[in-house]
């Protein structure tokens, strides 16, 4: 019998097979940065439906919306950054294609994840007070401070826990047990997503041995501990077309092609979909390589 912790390596197909329609799925990264896009693409191609998606939204939200997978969307923004507005998300909102919309303040979103990670029903904060976030989400309540802070008993937002069935995150390196490092400048909130979820599936650029995780980078970059992780998938270029620095920057040219197809006619989108999204991850990566070569000429 092995004296090591479990080998959690798995495949995209097995991760998707373990998910169920109606689940609440949190997606790590931030806008167009370090998104678990290989897993997102696989969900788009699955028969999963009625999902609640919780995300600092980028093209992950756009793709899932366009594929008709989202019943309820929890977000604070959806943006591609260099292209400020996400056309597939805009389209979904402007045609009311997503039945339930939960637009939060960014800080509320983080606080909701924190509450879930700490197994609390809510955490108090100021953000949201006075804004239409509370008007548009009347189920979000306020709470009166039991303490007089010299200004009376403040009424604060009771930010509800954003409890997730599953978190999907993408990092730079992991070992087979689920310990994982980010090598870029920003951890985003991936550890919070993992702790807010019952199960976390991690995709990474590269699986290395455990010693390899800290051989060339400080231990402080180990963001995820294996006790937070259910399964690890090695998916090189798996965050494409979002960035995964220092492994790669955002593919701006591809993003432009995506946005242009998404904001074009149904035929434009269908052509983009058929070329890039209809097959599996290997087919996607091959199509991207061909696209890159074509445009390098």
């Amino acid at each position: 019998m092995s004296r090591k912790p479990r080998d959690k390596r798995t495949s995209i197909d097995d991760v998707i097979a373990s998910l169920e329609s109606g689940m609440t799925i949190g997606i790590g990264g931030w806008g167009p940065r370090r998104k678990p896009m290989a897993l997102v693409r696989a969900i788009c191609n699955s028969d999963l439906e009625d999902l609640t998606i919780v995300s600092w939204g980028g093209a992950d939200v756009g793709l899932l919306a366009r594929a008709g997978k989202i019943r309820r969307l929890v977000y604070a923004f959806v943006s591609l950054d260099s292209i400020p507005l996400e056309p597939n998300f805009q389209r979904a909102r402007q045609t009311a294609a997503i039945p339930e919309i939960v637009e939060l303040d960014e800080g509320m979103f983080q606080t909701g994840l924190k509450a879930a990670a700490e197994r609390l029903p809510f955490l108090p904060m100021r953000a949201g007070l006075g804004s239409d976030v509370l008007v548009n989400n009347p189920w979000i309540k306020t709470v009166t401070s039991p303490y007089d802070d010299g200004v009376g008993h403040e009424e604060l937002v009771a930010v509800p826990a954003l409890k997730l069935d599953v978190a999907l995150v993408h990092l730079n390196r992991a070992d087979m047990h689920g310990n994982a490092t980010y090598l870029g400048p920003d951890p985003y909130f991936d550890d919070l997503f993992a702790m807010a979820a019952d199960r976390t599936y991690l995709s990474v650029e590269q699986i290395v041995d455990t010693a390899g995780l800290t051989v060339d980078t400080p231990v402080q970059r180990v963001l995820l501990n294996r006790m937070m992780v259910t399964g690890v998938v090695e998916t090189p270029n798996g965050a494409h077309f979002t960035n995964c620095v220092p492994d790669y920057e955002r593919d701006e040219r591809f993003q432009k092609a995506y946005a242009s197809a998404a904001s074009g006619s149904d035929e434009d989108w269908q052509a983009f979909h058929d070329r890039f999204l209809a097959g599996d991850e290997a087919a996607y990566q091959a199509a991207v390589r061909a696209f890159t070569e074509e445009n390098a000429k």
Binding site: R93, Q94, G107, R126, A127, G130, E154, Y188
Partner: protein, 256 residues
């Protein structure tokens, strides 16, 4: 020096919005705000803390969008929320709509359930406006931006903050609205928007015509100050030698 442009006037007016802030995190959203904040750091308020907009606090004051500077700290997205709660921050945000009560909208145009135009989402505006000083930058002043009532309240103006209670109003501080036509604050009657100064070459009538609500106009309207020789030199030779500012406020909008 009389050949300054409207964009230079705007940059100096934005810099002035940050001059009395002391040692806080100045967070500009957009190009002119970035220019104005960096100008303030080089002139009126060297204590300002600035970032690259990604994950680092910068020790120096590099040109717009320059890569590489001495790093003096770490400010990944998660720590921005710590600073918002801590309160030592002044953000200057954009506003797709802003109303008489200083409410701002970057979320959606039209009914929220099915917008005619979906925008970014509320981002951090609800938290910023109840957490610390917040200003707005509007590069094209028009009745479509300055509306009687915003469609969705992302950023909270003083009246709504007060109505929501002390938890909301305690740190609500809508400081300045700077547009390509003038500078405004919330010092009007009943916490409404008031004209503070007109940029050189702009008349009260220009502003009234471009504003979709009844703006409080003081009996004597000041002129936004001209940028100094030092400021113009810093803008032109150091911070924005390529003239990126003219993408937001065209060079043709001359000040005189």
């Amino acid at each position: 020096m009389s050949d300054y442009t409207r964009a230079d006037v705007c940059a100096a007016a934005i810099a002035d919005a940050f001059k009395d802030d002391g040692e806080i995190f100045a967070s500009p959203m957009g190009l002119l705000p970035m220019l104005g904040v960096r100008l303030a750091k080089l002139t009126s308020n060297p204590d300002l803390v600035i970032s690259d907009g990604e994950a680092f606090f910068l020790a120096g004051t590099p040109p717009l969008f320059a890569k590489g500077d001495v790093v003096e700290g770490w400010i990944p997205f998660r720590k921005v929320f710590d600073v918002i709660a801590y309160g030592r921050r002044h953000v200057m945000m954009g506003a797709t709509q802003v109303d008489r009560d200083g409410n701002q909208n970057i979320s959606a145009i039209g009914p929220f359930a099915q917008p005619t135009r979906q925008l970014l989402g509320s981002r951090g505006a609800p938290g910023n406006t109840v957490g610390h000083r917040t200003s707005y930058w509007v590069p094209r002043h028009s009745p479509r931006v300055f509306v009687e009532r915003v469609d969705t309240v992302s950023g909270v103006g003083p009246k709504r903050a007060k109505a929501a209670g002390i938890g909301a109003s305690r740190y609500n501080d809508i400081h300045r609205v700077v547009s390509n036509l003038g500078v405004f604050d919330m010092g009007g009657a009943d916490d409404t928007m008031r004209l503070v100064s007109l940029h050189p070459g702009v008349s009260v009538d220009d502003v009234v015509a471009a504003t979709g609500f009844a703006l409080e106009i003081p009996a004597e309207v000041a002129s936004t100050r001209e940028p100094t020789y030092e400021e113009l030199t810093l803008i032109r030779e150091m911070l924005d030698p390529k003239g990126l500012r003219f993408k937001e406020v065209p060079q043709e909008e001359v000040a005189q």
